[in-house]
Symmetry: C2
Subunit: 434 residues, 2 copies
Amino acid sequence: MKAEEMSRCDLEKFKSDAQKQYDEYKSMGLKLNMARGKPGAEQIALSLPMLDCLNSANAEEFEDEYFNYGLMEGPDAVKEFFAPMLGVPKENLIVFGNSSLNVMYDTVARCWNFGVTKGSKPWKDCNKVKWLCPVPGYDRHFAITELFGIEMINVPMHDDGPDMDMIERLVSEDESIKGIWCVPMYANPTGVTYSDEVVKRFASLKPKVEDFRIFWDNAYCIHHLTDTPDKLLNLFDELKKNGAEDMVYMFASTSKVTFPGSGVAMMAASKANLEQVRATMTIQTIGHDKLNMLRHVRFFGSYENMLTHMQKHRAILEPRFNAVTDALERELGELGLGSWVKPNGGYFVSFDSIPGCAKRIVSLCAAAGVTMTNAGATYPYGKDPKDSNIRIAPTFPSTEELKKAMEVFTCAVKLASAEKLLECRSNEMLAKNA
Amino acid sequence: MKAEEMSRCDLEKFKSDAQKQYDEYKSMGLKLNMARGKPGAEQIALSLPMLDCLNSANAEEFEDEYFNYGLMEGPDAVKEFFAPMLGVPKENLIVFGNSSLNVMYDTVARCWNFGVTKGSKPWKDCNKVKWLCPVPGYDRHFAITELFGIEMINVPMHDDGPDMDMIERLVSEDESIKGIWCVPMYANPTGVTYSDEVVKRFASLKPKVEDFRIFWDNAYCIHHLTDTPDKLLNLFDELKKNGAEDMVYMFASTSKVTFPGSGVAMMAASKANLEQVRATMTIQTIGHDKLNMLRHVRFFGSYENMLTHMQKHRAILEPRFNAVTDALERELGELGLGSWVKPNGGYFVSFDSIPGCAKRIVSLCAAAGVTMTNAGATYPYGKDPKDSNIRIAPTFPSTEELKKAMEVFTCAVKLASAEKLLECRSNEMLAKNA
């Protein structure tokens, strides 16, 4: 029976049962964490042999210049290896250090201080800079644009990607809109992969200004969780067909392929865009760690082997994702207390409670020793207008821990939802009597 | 006999001899490079065993979190290991990625966009920003400030450091001066180490503005080339005595200790300064490569062992530096054609030709297959007002190559100097006759 349809009396009973159960959990002194999109220890172990791939005995097989300064864009063999990850010719790829977030930050900062291409106005000198943010989205994207004082506009996410009607209208009308954050595959946190139609509409955007850029963070491009993975149309190819390949910056990394702190990040862009990247990058740094790049290439040997390696991640992660969605279905499904989708890949399950409950749920979880991502974190400025989205990160805890954490979480959802529903009924009563 | 004192006739003869010798070199099809401050292959080999320090067999000895996200400032053990390099408590140190240049760039960019501390005016919003540049200095420092449109002011270098009278006067008078580039030990390129007196005067600076910062790039702090190394007073300690430790950012790296592209960079600063670093760094990146930090700590074991390792570099480098200064002394000493100092450490020999010859010398070398750092590179905007400074980088070529390259170089100095001296005499004659 849906909780909404319960009588007041049944709802009171439901709430008091949930409260009793919650108090029990609270007394257990749990310490569980579903906040962080971090690979777990088993996943880390998969890549430990990579540490052996480059050693003093085989160092002679590598070019001297790999150990020295230079090769700013990464050795050619490394570019060739990683180009398929973003689906671009190696000429359109630059390989960076260990953090794609850092590459994205630097890209925003470069446009901000020096303009998107040579001669274009730095964004800092524009009257106003605005940004489109499909929501719910990735908090660390939003933190970058917030830091620069860029005004963020929420764009609703649908099952096939962000609301393209809204995006098309806004970018064609508003000259202050300079960018959009996208996680086009297994989006953080919704798990949605943009449909071919959506990608084509991105490729056909007619922004009012030449320096509008799509920040295409393909963080989970090879992070599948099923036998029938989603497929993402190649935006770079689509843009090329329209002669508009300057409109996108693409990003990816191996942070969740090998080691989160010691992976390899990359960026793909058009010739004109990369020229501006080079112009500042060569002043900003002496280059990135080429030995770590080579460790990766040597470890995998081929792009296909890297995809096989991802199957091992999947084997570890799939039971964890199942533990989350099974618990949601079992405990909340019939009650209609929230909605979620089982993703085909990525790192998160996005949960939407009934409106006005997310903060309360997260705080109940915290008091019972279960740390969740802050409610609101998936929205710009940390403000979820409906107070309903919670990002569940199933990767880091063990499956056992996760099952326990999900018991607490679903219990907190029940309790917070019952409180909210009863509050609404009281308000309705008061309104009727007034 | 000094070339200046030669008769016109002797000078003509001297020039034609130099020309003859130069033409011979030119016909040899040489390909030698003294431009780059790059460690050579022998030096690289010293650190190859570091690659074995972290492997799949010993990975269990390391904390799980070293492999994952987090520990933004570097693991505690790493901070403790590197703190003595800049001579600060580990609480004042943050360990970064592979490039201290990148840390310096980011530091300028942070002040530029967000101000030196919370609440202080971003430099980009100041009417004018100026910078003091001891000259000759490091071209890549100057490139950063030039990129941000910061006006650079040349400050002469003396034997004991930059001209402190000028610095004291300018920073106390001009509110637009926000920073100064310093390489306080074995300066690039002069090799000068700042005297105690100079460091103390830095510590006692009374800048007109609170957001003036000393960028103290201690790149060569352990890069000695003699048994009696220079000693540098600790600026951080001296500033503390004056309650002025906010005035400095200190930088160092292991780029020339282990691998130039795969070293570890660090920054030391006061509590207040580091708070602002953290505030933006946590948005900019997911952190730096902790495994590479641990590789370093494991390889050396102790700070003392790292100093011993530097003795091995010295053994490789000292003959190279001797080859340079011996050739200069032998070929140019008596002739008085230029000046130089044999440095006690660092990576360069700074050569000053008689005025107006540097460009010609470098271009003569290039035409004979010997690549030198561009004349002017050691000055802001690439403009050496006297056209006399040339940075010689003896580290990368073999000693044999270096000897040949120095033959060509000194020959080019002779030829260019003779041309210049004859030109001056002609001009004097013309002036007399006019």
